[in-house]
Symmetry: C2
Subunit: 210 residues, 2 copies
DNA sequence: TGTCTAACACAACAGATGTTGCTTATCCAT
DNA sequence: ATGGATAAGCAACATCTGTTGTGTTAGACA
């Protein structure tokens, strides 16, 4: 029911949400996410259980906010931002995604690859990637992204995360430095097709539909 | 706890699971998924609630199985299978994904785009796409997929679904026939990079890393 | 056909969930 | 500083959850 986690002025709200996220983070060092009850989180955060529901609809919403916030923080710390004109930007995004998965954002749950809530984590990260990709995509004169940019950003961000996750899940995975260029090579065609969709220049592989 | 939904010989199990899935499908015509309790599903399926838990860990697992089964059925009906040698195969997969989202697999929930369980649906469909893509990817002499095929299949399947979903969510979306070639154009570079990763032939866009 | 295995019904349980109404404490703006 | 707005504490509620135990029934297999 409350406003999005960013842009919260009231210090009471910030405090409570930070407490809840920290509590969940700590609890996940010990048990798996499913084994944690809203009661436990509220108790660990020294927050009333009813107050929890003032901020998040359930523990899954809290997890989502926590993951999104954590990944966004990582991107901000590294000053990561995509720019269609800068090839190394895609590399930075992919590397950040690798590192975020590797660093065990979610304690014991990080190993817990087949958990039912894993898709929630995936979705949260993909959304963050999509956002940072979208702002770097070419725009028209008014700074408004082209309509097809949404499709390109979606395809690219999902492809990036899907590939990174596949690498992360693989049994004897190579170091990140090794896989990052491979993934970048896979997704650059998508990212570079954005100008083509704006019909600035025809591209052989691009379909003429639309 | 039980074996995967496919390959179940015991008719009792088949019957119960079909009843449960049909019950959930029917209930979702009326209410949103979150508003449906396991109790309701069991009751609508004329199945004891305890029996529900013999088959699925919770209602989310049931939803996942339902979505995966439905999409798999759609692919089977259309005889969809990816083949790296056949360009129209990718088209068929993308079109099937568009149609599956459009046909409102999940009743009222189909409109319910921002629901917390949406990521579960996404994950189920992506997994299905990934499977059908993977079997069509190039293999070595023994029929074993190349190691990089996993990454390629993951990137391609996530990209396909992400793009289709973005299209589906867009307010005044064009007809599927119009967007399919665009998406196919976005993902074919990924799919065609599979041979390159096998170092059969160098490709200009592919990175030399590794 | 007969026996064995396992699916299902049923009841009951402790615990968690999500909500409500009320009071107190904290903030923000005037 | 003061007053209005709102977040947080608190208690209690009906309900749902997930599990366990026991008995019955239906399918599998020889």
């Amino acid at each position: 029911m409350p406003i999005s986690d960013c842009e919260v002025r009231d210090p009471r709200i910030r405090r409570t949400r930070q407490l809840l996220q920290a509590a969940l983070r700590n609890l996940m060092e010990t048990r798996s996410f499913e084994e944690i009850a809203v009661q436990d989180i509220a108790e660990a955060a020294t927050v009333n259980r009813a107050t929890f529901y003032d901020h998040y609809t359930d523990k899954y919403a809290l997890l989502e906010a926590m993951i999104a916030g954590g990944f966004h923080k990582l991107l901000a710390e590294r000053r990561v931002q995509y720019d269609a004109a800068c090839p190394s930007a895609a590399r930075a995004i992919v590397l950040a995604t690798c590192d975020y998965l590797t660093q065990g954002h979610s304690g014991k749950a990080g190993c817990d690859q087949q958990s039912a809530f894993q898709p929630l984590i995936d979705a949260a990260i993909v959304t963050s990637i999509r956002r940072v990709v979208l702002v770097g995509l070419p725009r028209n004169g008014d700074g408004v992204p082209e309509p097809a940019a949404g499709i390109v950003a979606a395809a690219a961000s999902w492809a990036i995360y899907g590939a990174v996750k596949e690498w992360f899940r693989s049994p004897g995975r190579p170091p990140a430095e090794e896989i990052v260029p491979v993934i970048v090579g896979l997704v650059t065609p998508i990212l570079e097709s954005a100008p083509a969709l704006q019909s600035r220049q025809p591209v052989a592989a691009a379909p003429s539909g639309s």
